[in-house]
Amino acid sequence: MDITTQKNTATPPPAPQPTEAERKRAARGATRPGDRIFLGLSRGSGILLLAIMAAIAGFLTYRAVLAISKDEGNFLTTFEWNTGTQPPVFGIAVLAYGTVISSIIAMVIAVPISVAIALFLTHYAPRRLSGPIAYVIDLLAAVPSIVYGLWGALILVPQMEGLFGWLDDYFGWTGIFDWQGGPARSMLTVGILLAIMILPIITNVSREVFRQVPQMHEEAALALGATRWEVIRMAVLPFGRSGVISASMLGLGRALGETMAVATVLSPDFLIHASLLDPGGGTFAQNIASKFGEADTFGRDALIASGLVLFVITLLVNGAARMIIARRKEYSGANA
């Protein structure tokens, strides 16, 4: 960063990026054998990445078709996962429901808090603090998911019982918060844990977006006598809306695919529970991790079939998020 500033003072008009014409000229000059080999290597790596993506889709589809063709139940609507029986009956209905529900809970909790933390870092925290705090948020992202899982299962679950009792007492009548007792290894706990895990990525991307808000907009609002909150509502949030949306979708992608934290916390079954507090249900990733041990080859193919569905879902979510970001290229924080 300081390179460019130094250079700027030395030679006034710097071109930070090679222009299209320069690149073309440079590429046309690639006639030496060394150049050809190097270009081939680097282009080959890029093509290899594309090939890997294609291979993932191809191989997963191939094994999935093997499994689904023998499935006696409806793959999309069956409430069972019996791959060892003759004939095998399995379906992803419960998994799809659990994945969506846990991710929704995580998003509902994580998005407002992350946006608030991002605002805290850019607009509220004392200057001296915001650097270290951002670093702490980064560390939160570096903690391995299995450690979150262990913490969730052994520390968070017992702590949740008080909250569950309270929710049951006052909101049990809604049906969603009806609690039969028993350990708090349910979708709500999973959602809360996922929310903690996706906080850092949403915070980081939103923070980058909020930093890009033109200073002029904020100062104009302040000059009109706006309070700090009014500045944020009128200048910062409208500017950052699309960035926050894509940040949320990146977080959603994480939550959908999270495996170990769900596998350790949830006590799974193959029913759809109306109550978020009752243990049970499952997610794609959790089901793969916990059913894998006892699965034979066919069982593994069936798990791969469910993994393919997860792959497609995350692909769509991430693709959409990246498209939104790509429309505003300046959000460099999007690589978090």
Binding site: F38, I52, I196, W229, T264, G307
Partner: protein
């Protein structure tokens, strides 16, 4: 910036405002009341105490501010307090996690634990260690890095130095999308290939899945670093008649090497904690297996999961899981700190 502006306003034009220490007093008051309610109503969970305190604080601030300062200022204060509360809310789990891991992890973490494998120690018995898991993690992550780092760096070079047209756009887009692939899907991909060739689990299969997860991260960070290299350096080198590939190898890469190393180390830190692909492909093994190309291996994250899930609540196994977690977190954090250290240490050199 906003504080500076408000401070410079002449005080005569200001309405009544709360003194600077008022948030602290309200906070202290609400915590005291929350503790009172918690003790009085017999609530066990500290989380509930905290939530009650937070709600009291927000409501109290709003009430007092709207009485003294007016509606708009009250809204501003409520936003400020909500933002603070959100931040504190996020700190609580992190603090709890670090505290729990350190407190419970140090119980069995000693030299014996680091230098012995589980061997014939039963799941529910005390004893045993994580030597085999450390070996497994180091080998799998090392091999994954050997695969992913060159491919990632070369792809980034392609995107920055050569890339144009549809291929570069496609690579950029799919690198972005690839960053979001769930780790378990990467594991399933390698698994589907292993099923076709009827292979048994082995360490290198896990490395391949980890490499898939690592590549896009390396590409992104390297790309950012290469873009920071000033174009004048490239032009000066090319003007001297140096071939483009030598320019990249001798000028561009050395200039950006600090940032690239940092990116790769952060990527290593990230894949070192991945459990799901290792669970599917490497399977776990209580004995020491130094050969990543044959036979099941252990790995640290997998060890934590298996100690947790196979012990049915036995205390010694939980202690081992926490100790392994502490080791893993320490490993990841050291990598993180080293990476940031290198970034800082190498940064001035890029200006040469």
């Amino acid at each position: 910036m906003s504080t500076v502006l408000t401070d410079k306003r002449p005080t005569t034009l200001r309405g009544a405002s709360l003194p600077k220490w008022s948030p602290w007093v309200i906070a202290a008051g609400s915590v005291a009341v929350a503790v009172g309610i918690g003790l009085g109503a017999g609530l066990d969970s500290r989380i509930q105490w905290g939530l009650i305190a937070a709600i009291l604080y927000v409501l109290g601030t709003y009430a007092i501010a709207s009485m003294v300062e007016g509606k708009r200022q009250a809204k501003d204060r409520i936003a400020t307090s909500l933002v603070w509360v959100a931040f504190l809310l996020a700190v609580v789990p992190l603090a709890s996690l670090v505290w729990a891991t350190v407190e419970r992890g140090v119980k069995v973490l000693d030299v014996y634990f680091l230098t012995h494998s589980m061997g014939v120690v039963g799941d529910r018995e005390p004893g045993g260690g994580i030597y085999h898991a450390i070996i497994g993690t180091l080998e799998q992550v090392g091999l994954a890095t050997l695969i992913a780092a060159p491919i990632g760096v070369l792809t980034a070079i392609y995107l920055v130095e050569y890339g144009r047209g549809n291929l570069a756009r496609a690579v950029t887009f799919f690198v972005d999308v690839m960053t979001g692939i769930p780790s378990i899907v990467a594991g399933l991909f390698i698994l589907s290939i292993m099923l076709i060739f009827e292979m048994q689990p082995f360490g290198f299969a896990g490395s391949l899945a980890l490499a898939i997860l690592m590549m896009p991260v390396v590409v992104r960070s390297t790309e950012e670093m290469l873009k920071l290299v000033p174009n004048e350096l490239r032009e000066a080198s090319l003007a001297l008649g140096v071939p483009k590939w030598r320019t990249i190898l001798k000028i561009v890469l050395p200039t950006a090497i600090g940032g690239i190393t940092t990116g790769i180390m952060l990527a290593i830190a990230r894949i070192a904690g991945e459990t799901a692909p290792v669970l599917l492909l490497v399977f776990g093994n209580p004995f020491i297996n130094n050969n990543p190309f044959e036979g099941a291996q252990a790995s640290l994250p997998l060890y934590i999961y298996q100690q947790y899930s196979q012990s049915a609540g036995a205390e010694p196994a939980y202690d081992r899981a926490w100790a392994a977690s502490l080791t893993l977190i320490a490993f990841v954090m050291i990598l993180n700190l080293l990476a940031r250290g290198i970034a800082r240490w190498k940064a001035p050199k890029t200006g040469r």
